[in-house]
């Protein structure tokens, strides 16, 4: 695409990234959360693809799927944390540790919820991003 789009993309990418991170980080306080922030981050990947071409991101494809694996694993492991009581038991909520804040509205409250937000956020970002990337990469050279 033209130089205008590329430059604006350069400027927008960090802003969109930090905004996505904000949406994930404040998922338990304001609208947002893992899915939404992950979708914002994934559209950053889509933006990069459309502005700079998919070939430039080909090398990142394996790392994206790895991030997705890690996010999914992290989510399951977080769910396993509560298995002393039950699977998915929110063992950290209100427990006064890190993420165990007792006051609703604090950044450090919610037990496993913010952590799961991050897990799902990374997962959704990598997942949707790699779907778009795979679609863009398919067919590559010999296709028109």
């Amino acid at each position: 695409m033209s130089v205008v789009v590329r430059t604006v993309t350069r400027l927008l990418v960090p802003l969109a990234l930090i905004f996505g991170a904000y949406v994930i980080m404040h998922g338990h306080l304001t609208p947002g959360g893992g899915f939404q922030g992950g979708a914002v981050l994934a559209s950053v990947v889509a933006l990069l693809i459309v502005a700079f071409g998919a070939e430039r991101l080909r090398r990142r494809q394996t790392s994206l799927t790895s991030v997705e694996d890690l996010g999914a694993l992290m989510f399951v492991v977080l769910a396993f944390v509560g298995i002393g009581s039950t699977f998915f038991y929110n063992a950290l909520a209100g427990a006064r540790g890190l993420f165990g804040g007792t006051e609703a509205g604090s950044l450090w409250a919610g037990g496993t919820v913010p952590l799961m937000n991050w897990a799902v956020g990374l997962k959704v970002m990598a997942g949707l991003g790699s779907i778009v990337l795979l679609m863009a990469l398919f067919g590559g050279d010999d296709d028109r």
């Binding site: 949406v23 609208p31 947002g32 959360g33 899915f35 939404q36 992950g38 979708a39 914002v40 994934a42 559209s43 889509a46 693809i49 459309v50 949707l128 779907i131 778009v132 679609m135 863009a136 398919f138 067919g139 296709d143």
Partner: protein, 84 residues
């Protein structure tokens, strides 16, 4: 509150218009554009229904990513819908 109701009704009509356009247009790219518009209006409707979480998700996924993969799929295939 009444203003909100009016907005909801108007927006619902627009959603139906967008959906009809999506179905009606023969050019697949135009169809995708109309789908994106419908998705946009759908997100506004979610917003009016006081569901900001869903609206954000629909914004990210419906407006950006679905359009992206549809356009990519169109690029890999062909644009016009063949006549019967």
């Amino acid at each position: 509150m009444t203003a909100l109701t009016v907005l909801q009704v108007a927006n619902l009509v627009l959603i139906v218009a967008g959906a009809v356009l999506t179905v009606w247009l023969r050019d697949l790219l135009a169809s995708v554009v109309a789908l994106a518009a419908m998705s946009l209006l759908l997100a506004l409707q979610f917003y009016l229904l006081q569901a900001p979480d869903v609206a954000i998700a629909e914004a990210g996924i419906g407006a950006a990513l679905t359009t992206a993969i549809f356009v990519l799929a169109l690029r890999k295939t062909r644009r016009k819908e063949e006549e019967e």
